[in-house]
Symmetry: C2
Subunit: 511 residues, 2 copies
Amino acid sequence: MNQSYALISVYDKTGCLELARELAARQIRILSTGGTARYLAENGLEVIQVSDLTQFPEIFHGRVKTLHPLIEGGILFRREIPEDQADQARLGIPSIDYVICNLYPFESVVNRPGAEHDEIIENIDIGGPTMLRAAAKNYRHVVVLTRSEDYLFMIDKLKNGQAVTTEERLVLASKAFAHTSYYDGLIFHYLNREPLDKVPHFSLPVRREVELRYGENPHQQACFFAKGYRSGGLPYVQCHGKELSYNNMLDMNVAYQMIGEFSRPAAVIIKHNNPCGLAVGETIRQAFEKARDGDPLSAYGGIIAVNRPVEADLAELINEFFNECLLAPDYSDQAMELLKKKKNRRVLKMRDCPTETYPTLTDICGGFLMQTRDRGFPELDSMQLMSGQPLSAGQFDDIGLALVAVKYAKSNAITIVNQGMLIGIGAGQTSRVDSVKIAIRKSQENQHSLSGAILASDAFFPFRDNIDYCAPYGLSGIIQPGGSTRDEEVIEAARQHGISMYFTQIRHFKH
Amino acid sequence: MNQSYALISVYDKTGCLELARELAARQIRILSTGGTARYLAENGLEVIQVSDLTQFPEIFHGRVKTLHPLIEGGILFRREIPEDQADQARLGIPSIDYVICNLYPFESVVNRPGAEHDEIIENIDIGGPTMLRAAAKNYRHVVVLTRSEDYLFMIDKLKNGQAVTTEERLVLASKAFAHTSYYDGLIFHYLNREPLDKVPHFSLPVRREVELRYGENPHQQACFFAKGYRSGGLPYVQCHGKELSYNNMLDMNVAYQMIGEFSRPAAVIIKHNNPCGLAVGETIRQAFEKARDGDPLSAYGGIIAVNRPVEADLAELINEFFNECLLAPDYSDQAMELLKKKKNRRVLKMRDCPTETYPTLTDICGGFLMQTRDRGFPELDSMQLMSGQPLSAGQFDDIGLALVAVKYAKSNAITIVNQGMLIGIGAGQTSRVDSVKIAIRKSQENQHSLSGAILASDAFFPFRDNIDYCAPYGLSGIIQPGGSTRDEEVIEAARQHGISMYFTQIRHFKH
C-alpha cells in the first residue's frame, strides 16, 4: 500500500495542530509549506516541506508554493486506474489523501476600512483554491477539509478508527466548492466596475447571518443571508427584545428606507409591508404622534421607525400601545430603560453603513428579475401645474410626504396627506379607483379632515371617475405622473372640480 | 527585454486561431497543451508544448497539464520587483503575458439530460481556473482572455499597435473572476445535498438571459438573470407579441404558479401581482369566462393564464378585450392565428421544466431573506368545523378555490368564491377588516350573489367585527387558519350568524 500524505496549508491555524497530530499518529505524513510548516514543526510534528518533495523552491515571496505537478498530481490521480498508478510510481508522486487548507483572508481585508488595493489583490489566494478544487474533484479518494468544524469531524473519525465514507467526502467536496465560489464571488464584486445588469454571468456570494424561527408562515423555514460584498449585512443592530421574525425583517426593510428619505423629524409605521402611518413634525415626538394617529387601528402591532434619537418622553408614548419593533438612530439611557420594560418588543439601532447602490433582485420561477433601485423622485419645483391654482409652500411639503408614502406603498397606490400627516392610504388594488375609494374611506373612518388635503397616485389615472369620486371631499391637490391617453379628460375633471392637479412625470410602481 | 509568451489552453476553440496568429506575428511565443496545441500546429502555428518547457509530462489522462511552477510562476511573477526578476532568470521561468483560456464545459454537461455523475465530475476543470485566477490576480502585467468577444478586442489592439491599458486589464480580470465564481457556483449547486438555508456561505450563479427595456418604472434599468443551476430559465417561451416587460414577468410568475395548483380546467387573471379573476369550469372556455366576469374592470389589461390548450373559440373570446399576456400549455394552429391578430398582446407557451424546489430569496438592505416555498395547503377533509352546519361537497370545491386565491394574494388577504368563481378580493390591507370590506364591496359592485358564498382569510381574524360585517350578506362559510387569542369570540360571532366556520391551521401570508 502507498504511503499516505496529508497536505496542510492554512492561513487560519485554528485547530489544525490537533488534526495534524491525529493524522501523524496514524503514520500519515504531513506535507506543508511556509508558515504552516513552521507552526507544526515548532509544535513537535515531523513535517515534509513541499519544496523538499518537489525540489522546486517557493518563489515570488510565496506566490507560488504548492502549484506543482507532484502535489496537484498527488491529489488528483485516480487511485483505481492502472495507468494513473503507473504514472504515479514512475514519477514519484505522493498519494495525498487529505487536503487541509483555508485561504488568504480576502474577505476580512476587503472589508477592513482603509485597506489598500494592492494589499487586497495580494490577498487573492491562488494555490489554496487550486488544492481545494483538486481535492474536491477527486473526492472519491481525497478528504478535503476547509473549516475547523470539519477538523473535529475528522479527528473523531480517526480516533474511532472509522473511514470517511464516500457520501461524507462528497459533502466535504460540496463545502469546498461552496467556499471557492463564495471567495471568487467576493473577488469579482470587488474588481467589477460594470453595472451588474450588463455582466453576462457571475455569482452572488452570500453568508448566513441570522437564523430565523420560520418564514412568512410557520410552515416555511427561513434565514437571513448577508451579501458577501459591498459591506453586506443588516443596516441595524438589535439592542433588546426577542428575536426578529422574517416578517419583522421584511417590514423593517421598508421602514428603514422610508425614514431615510427625510431630513426633518419624521416617523413611519409599517404594517404588512405597507406604510399605515407617516408624518413629519417640529419634534420627533410630534412626528410620532401624528404617524400613530393616522390610522391607530392599523398601527397596532406595527413596526415603528423614527429618524431622531429616542428620549424618555417618546419612549413612554411608544410603550403605551403594542408594537413589534422600534428602529431609531439612537436611544438615551433613560429611554432604553423604559423601552426594555416591554419584553416582546424589539428595539433596534441603525448601523452606520453605506447606502445600497446595487440593483435589487426579485426571485421568480427560473431566475431573478434584476433592476436598479427606484431612486427617482420628482423635483417639486419643476412639476407641471395642469389645472387649478398653484399650491402653497406648506402644501408642497404635504406633496413631498404624499409622494414618499406612495412610492413605498404597494401598487396601485393612492395616499392622502394633510398638514404633514398621512391620513389615508389605498394600496395593492387591481383597479386604481378602488385605491382612491379605500384611501378616502380610511381618512373618513379615522375622522381626518380632507379639506385642503393632497392626494398622490403612484401612476396615472386611466379615467376621470377617480377625480369625480374625490370631488365632494374638498381636496386641494392631486399629484400624479400623467401619461394616460385620457389625460385631457382627467385634467378637465380636476379643472371642473377646482382641484389643483400637478404632473410629476415619474411613476412609482412597486409590487 | 524578456521574450513574451502567450499561454493558450481552450476547450472551446472559437476564435482562438485568429488571435494566436496575431500574437505570433508579433514575436509572441505560443505555449499550449493537448488538443489546443494540436489544433494550432495543424493550422501552421509554431507552438511550444507546456510539457517541453517544464520537462514534466502531461499525466493522468490530462488531469494535470499546466499546474507547474514554471507556468504559474510565469503568470504570477511581479515584473517590477527585482527579487522576482532574479528568481525568474535563475529558474528559467517564461514571461507569460497573455493567458487565453476557457474551461471544460461543466455547465452544458450538467444540464444535458441523462448525463452521468462521473462524466459531470470529470468536467470540473482544475488547471484552467488556476491559470485564469493567477492571470487575473496579476492583471497589472498579464492580459487574461476567457470569452471569444474579448479575443476580438485583443486582435484590434494588436492590429492597431495599442497597449492594453491597466484599466482594460482590470476589466478583463473582473470577467475572469465572474467566470470562475459562476463556474464554481454551478459545481457547488450540483454537489450540494444540504438544504440551502443550512449552508454557511456559498454563491448563487446567474446568467443574463433577457434584456428588458426598463424595470418596474421607466427610470429603472432591468434584466432577467436565469439561475445557473437546477435547469434555471423562464418556465415559458414567447410565441408572439412585443417583448415582455418587467411587470409582465412579475405577474406571469404568479399566474404560472397559481394555474399549476389546478388539475380541473382553470383560468386566472393577474393584475398588479394580485389575482383579480380565478375560476374553474367544465371546459376551459367556461373557466375563462367566469374568471373574466369576476371583476371585468380589473381584468382589463391583465395577464391571463389557463391550464388547457387554447382552441379557436377561446382565442376569439380572449381577443375581445385588451389583455397584456396569455399563457397556456399549448395553442391550436387556428387559435394562434387568431391570437396573432393582436400585435401588442404577448402569447406564451409553458415549457416543460421541473417544479421549483429551491428556497426563494427576497432582497432587503444588506442581504437576502431566504425561505422555503409556501407548499402548505390544508387537507380539506381534515379541517375543523368550528361553528354551523357542515358544508356540501360543492362548497368544498369553492373552499379549495378560495384558499388558492388567498394564498397568492398579498396580505392581508380576503377572497370570496361562489360556484367555482372568485367574486371578491380584498388584498394588501394593513387591517384585516378593511380587506373584508373591500372583498364584499367588490363582489357587490360586480353584481355577484353572495348567497351561499365562501369567504377565506389568509390569517386569523383578530376581532369579531370581521364576522359581524359579513353577516347581512348571506355567506355560507368562512375559512381561516385560526390561532387568535380571540378565537372564541370570533367563533361565537359565526355561530350567532349561522355561518359555518372552518379552521385550516395553515396561514398564508404573502407580502
